[in-house]
Symmetry: C3
Subunit: 298 residues, 3 copies
């Protein structure tokens, strides 16, 4: 059942969105080359600020000015294992919360080494698709063996349902190592799943077009880090997923309205969806985000 | 003369487009930073899947899951000569076909070393502009001296016509080293040219706006690799060029129709062309792609 | 007071824009990964050509074919300090003018080392926000201490007014080291400021949406380098800023007109602004650019 309008969770989501609009928080990112532009533009569109860096001294200098950070292991370069080891150690030492997108977890020796290292200086929020969450939970010894069918490159080979238990265990592990004992895991899929290890929420909605552009997940991680600057992990993850669902639906409505005005257009494609989605990210009000469909598993 | 509708080449193109729609093949890419986002989005739009990587262990792990791959030497980094040597050797050993975009061939010592190395582990398809094809054929000793006027940076200084013979010789060389004895070369220009070394095809059409956005050629290479997952080299190269011409023309029609509905717009520019082009890539049917203008040199 | 229509400065701006349209000059770029695509597309849209490179031998090979170049220190990699030292020395030796965007000047040890090195082989034009201009002038000992409030990541923490004197001193320093004794500094903000060290101009206009997309400043630097291929530094900087203001205003008019035709749209957002802005860059005539609001400080 959709959560009531006055539920404290919804109020906290609205508050987080409003605070981002009011304070323009900057969350620095160490992210992949494919979608780095979309991550930055999504962070700006949601009301935050962006700064990208790949050297540990540069990243730590920016992170010192920020309240949260974002790391995405998409396109690795030879210097990244050392840089990420230093950066995650710095983040731990300064007690700064951060979001990890474990892109293609399980694929390639360098990526596995980097993700294994992060077990010692873990993030506050992990956001990934089902295969990535299962692979990371397995890699960190939180579940037995690997029940994952993937990865198939960067796409998920598992459905969100199969990642529920790994996500909960992962969230509890993160919370144990979190500065304030709080953490969250977000699993992206047709219905997004967000858990803090105790409570578990589902966010249906959005649009299948989100899977037809590259970077929907990566940029969601970046926006989650912006919200993490102003809210606790569970609320940050919920607010970001809610915003993405609301904005995707708004973008589809806008593109559909173009087709009505001008039947000659080939609208509702991935090309025009991305700019319409960024417009919608920027236009969404705290009330609209907070009223996204939100179900709690009991 | 435009080839007849029931020509086996056209049927094979339609079949390749349909198979990509049905099976969502993933072709990993090692590509430049300028257009990496467009490459990924074009691969998704045509119905395939994308995964970008720059480390040899990562690339080989993804390539092991794929039926074809894409390498583009646009923006080189210090680690690339070693990485590309290992990756191309791996691709040869596993008998996996791949597409090369020899961006700016002839320019700079590192690029020349990398392309000279690839003579030993050559691709299955080369796609480039006329200057790049001539430069590569010359560099590999397939033509005497260099009849190229270029390169002028990344733009072609030669016309497609002057690249016909180098393209044919290059295609025959690639075929000799190909796992199944088949290969192709595609020369992009006002009229695209595709040859397998024996037969030579021309694909007029598309739009001059393709030259006003960065990455039309790079992303065509990535889409060619997606088709190479499901078709032989000649058909993959023809299908990709045909798709690009059909989609560019569709995008121009869409943008022109906007201008009719709303005369105040500055449409038909490179900015709105790119999203409209991606929409058109996603909307093109196998029949539409297979009915692109296609001429054979006799 | 807005400068008169027949002022020699305006005529020179129109001439520069026309020459770029006529000769398609290529200005190679060493730039950051976040906005590299927008830099290239903006250079193409304004009528120039683009080529991106990160290795000194590659960059110098392209720069030898070009009349000006662009360096942006946004996302640094471990190989950049050595590469940039070699590239800037090559540019000095060949007497080739270039544009520097000192992104986030003052932040991080590697960035500071790179920018300190450039004091010995300085650019011809520096374009940055107020904080970056102040930080660079301070770093190079041109002003006492640092009166900067920033940087706050990549955003400016100072207003343009506070950067006037640092900008003038910086421009005079650059002119002393310039091949032909000419140089310019451009400070981006709500009102852009351009100075050659003697005369100082202000360009109000543009759109607040320019601050809502990533890369407005980076791509302005790339377009400035294209104009620097055909014009002296002061005119190149003025022409680029004038073009950006004119194009931003045109893009806003276009998006507003969409909303009138189709009230269901969420237009005027950052997502649709970027493609509309690129369209407007491509559509702007020399006369339109030359008639931008342009004030001279007396």
């Amino acid at each position: 059942m959709n959560m009531p309008a006055q539920d404290p969770i919804r109020l906290a989501i609205a508050e987080a969105v409003q605070q981002v609009h009011d304070t323009t928080p900057m969350a620095p990112s160490f992210t992949n080359f494919v979608t780095i532009n979309l991550v930055a533009n999504a962070q700006l569109a949601c009301g935050g600020s962006a700064a990208m860096s790949f050297l540990s001294n540069e990243f730590s200098a920016v992170a010192a000015l920020a309240k949260a950070a974002y790391i995405n292991v998409g396109t690795l370069m030879p210097s990244y294992p050392d840089a990420l080891r230093a950066i995650t150690a710095d983040l731990k030492e300064s007690g700064k919360p951060w979001v990890l997108d474990p892109v293609a977890a399980g694929l390639g020796a360098t990526r596995t080494n980097i993700l294994m290292d992060m077990r010692h200086n873990p993030p506050t929020i992990v956001r990934g698709n089902a295969s990535e969450i299962i692979a990371l939970a397995s890699m960190w010894g939180l579940i037995e063996g690997s029940s994952s069918n993937g990865p198939e490159g960067v796409e998920s080979a598992d459905d969100v349902q199969s990642a529920i238990e790994p996500a909960r265990l992962l969230a509890r592990f993160l919370a144990q190592h979190s500065p304030d004992g709080k953490a969250a895991v977000a699993v992206s899929g047709e219905t997004d799943l967000v858990t803090d290890g105790t409570r578990t929420f589902r966010l249906p909605g959005g649009s299948p077009l989100m899977t037809k552009i590259t970077g929907a997940g990566c940029s969601l991680g970046g926006v989650t880090a912006v919200y993490l600057c102003v809210a606790e992990p569970l609320i940050a993850a919920l607010a970001a997923s809610a915003l993405y669902n609301v904005a995707a639906e708004c973008a589809v409505r806008t593109l559909t309205s173009y087709t009505k005005v001008n039947p000659d257009t080939v609208a509702l494609g991935p090309g025009t969806f991305q700019p319409a989605f960024l417009d919608a990210l920027a236009a969404a009000t705290p009330e609209q985000v907070a009223s996204a469909t939100l179900l709690e598993d009991k």
